[in-house]
């Protein structure tokens, strides 16, 4: 049975354009590579454009207030004078408080899931912890307003005031809404982030290390403490920083429970205001270009800090995968 189709010439004449601009022999490959490259560039362009837009938008405020923007406490739209210190304080305080709650719990969950839990429990519990991340921010905020804040106001804050009221952190009027509520809700929201990254980090630790310790007669916890954790330490720190980045950028839930008052106070019961919240609340109603520019500068600060933290976190997490066998014991 002979060949039934016409034998096509092996040479396809190559158009001048193809020869000049690339190594591809047919149009399909040529267009494909360039079209997909164009869309990949979109990612770079979007990021750069975002940075540029924020800098451009804050130009007016940057030039007017300079460094004083981050040190001044005065935020007065009426007199057109803006200083972001209260928001910086609120953001940092709520996020650090959230870390205090979230880090031990998340690492505990990560150790539980990767070392201690029986196999049948890992899937469901891991899935449920990840569901924490699936709940939308506004839903947490709603829950925060009507469930968490009242509970804090009626049960937790009085208790703390009674027992630890000599500390400045637990003084002042107890409203439920405030830094404590903000810290707790942020902690809930960043727990899945920290715990899932920590799980990955713990999983990347070569099992030979853990088994070596167990083989020497260590208990489970000792094996973890002595062989696994030191190796994974930078990765766990990276996970924490990722959580911190997430907490800094969180908007809706915290806006709904933190009270939105720009005052700086040591008390956890006091209301506060975060950078993301002030933008959320005031951006769409800002009148005057300086007002908008000041808000944009707050956004720029948030942007820069989050990007830096993100890079730092990834470097740390990436390093765990790269450490040579045999971390310090």
């Amino acid at each position: 049975m002979s060949v039934s189709h016409e034998v096509s010439p092996l040479i396809r004449p190559r158009s001048k354009i193809l020869t000049r601009f690339g190594r591809e022999v047919n149009w399909g490959d040529f267009v494909f590579r360039r079209a997909t490259a164009l869309l990949a560039t979109l990612m770079l362009v979007a990021l750069a454009a975002m940075a540029a837009a924020m800098v451009y938008g804050s130009a007016e405020s940057l030039s007017k207030f300079g460094l004083g923007f981050v040190t001044s406490q005065v935020w007065d739209p009426v007199r057109d004078v803006y200083g972001a210190l209260p928001f910086i304080y609120g953001t940092l305080a709520s996020s650090l408080l959230a870390l205090c709650f979230a880090v031990p719990i998340s690492i505990g969950v990560a150790i539980f899931l990767s070392e201690l839990a029986p196999a049948w429990l890992r899937g469901p519990v891991g899935f449920l912890v990840e569901l924490l991340a699936a709940v939308p921010s506004v839903v947490y905020g709603l829950w925060g307003i009507f469930v968490l804040a009242p509970w804090l106001r009626t049960s937790v804050e009085p208790f703390l005031a009674r027992t630890l009221g000599f500390l400045p952190f637990f003084q002042g009027q107890q409203r439920g809404f405030g830094l404590l509520a903000g810290g707790i809700i942020l902690a809930i929201m960043i727990t899945p982030t920290i715990s899932s990254v920590s799980r990955e980090v713990l999983r990347a630790v070569p099992s030979a290390l853990r088994e070596g310790a167990l083989g020497l007669g260590a208990t489970s916890w000792e094996a973890v403490r002595v062989a696994v954790l030191p190796y994974a330490r930078s990765g766990l720190v990276g996970a924490t920083i990722l959580g911190l980045g997430r907490a800094l950028g969180e908007t809706m839930a915290i806006t709904m429970v933190i009270g939105n008052r720009s005052e700086i106070s040591a008390s956890l019961f006091a209301p506060s205001y975060t950078m993301a919240s002030v933008i959320a609340n005031e951006f769409s109603e800002a009148t005057g270009s300086l007002y908008l520019s000041a808000l944009a500068e707050v956004g720029l600060l948030l942007f820069v800090v989050t990007v830096l933290l993100n890079i730092l976190a990834r470097l740390l997490v990436w390093r765990v995968g790269r450490l040579p066998e045999g971390g310090r014991l």
Partner: protein
Amino acid sequence: MTIGSPSRLARPTSRKGSTSDDSRSRWDEVSVSTLVPKMRTEELRAYFGQAEVLKGISLPIAEKQVTAVIGPSGCGKSTFVRCLNRMHEVVPGARAVGRVLLDKQDIYQGDVDAVRVRRRVGMVFQKPNPFPTMSIRDNVLAGLRLNGERPDDPDAVVEKMLQRVALWDEVKDILGRAGTGLSGGQQQRLCIARSLALEPEVLLMDEPCSALDPIATARVEELIHDLRKTYTIVIVTHNMQQAARVANFTAFFYLGKLIEHDRTDVIFTRPKEQRTEDYITGRFG
């Protein structure tokens, strides 16, 4: 199925006398006296990065015959065969230098489109790889469809191809099932049918039976024997008995060089090179 008498092997017009008398057939007599080879390589060199894996191979491939390529692991036989349809360069960093002639035309010449070469020189791989997202029917038609061709009667094409690989009776009622749902041997025959649907002139087979059980292997070898009437076949195999069963001509490669190329019976009974004999007799492998 066995090589049998030399006269069965030889092309009708070509042999100078019976080789059973001829104790040392020179390989260039073989190449000269067969028909113009379907493909030939001239000083073919292949590289992976800086490493030279094929060192100047000049080998004719006889038309409508089965040529086996044998040799120990790492000798370059797979690389050689992949150069015949320009699949070698698909790997990043790989390149080939030299001439490979398909019907007197060099497929490595500047403007040649590798895609068109592969339409005429088909390939079957070591591990059967039917497309998992397609049914058996769609797998057979995949080569045509993905090239934008619409056969007038797709069902006829499917039946013809599956008949040719002796798979029709086994799958004619389950054509809609996924290609990956078949046994290993059936999958490999499906892949052969898929390649044949494009009506290639040459079929390259890179260790097609090494992932199959003996029964499936036997069926594929039967198939090769059948296909030989229509297609030029080059088969890479690490199994010498398979080469002896299936091939008309055999080429022995060692460390990237072509050591010997001759009729199969000659290679296995009266090899000219010492290294060939050492390999055949199992002194190294």
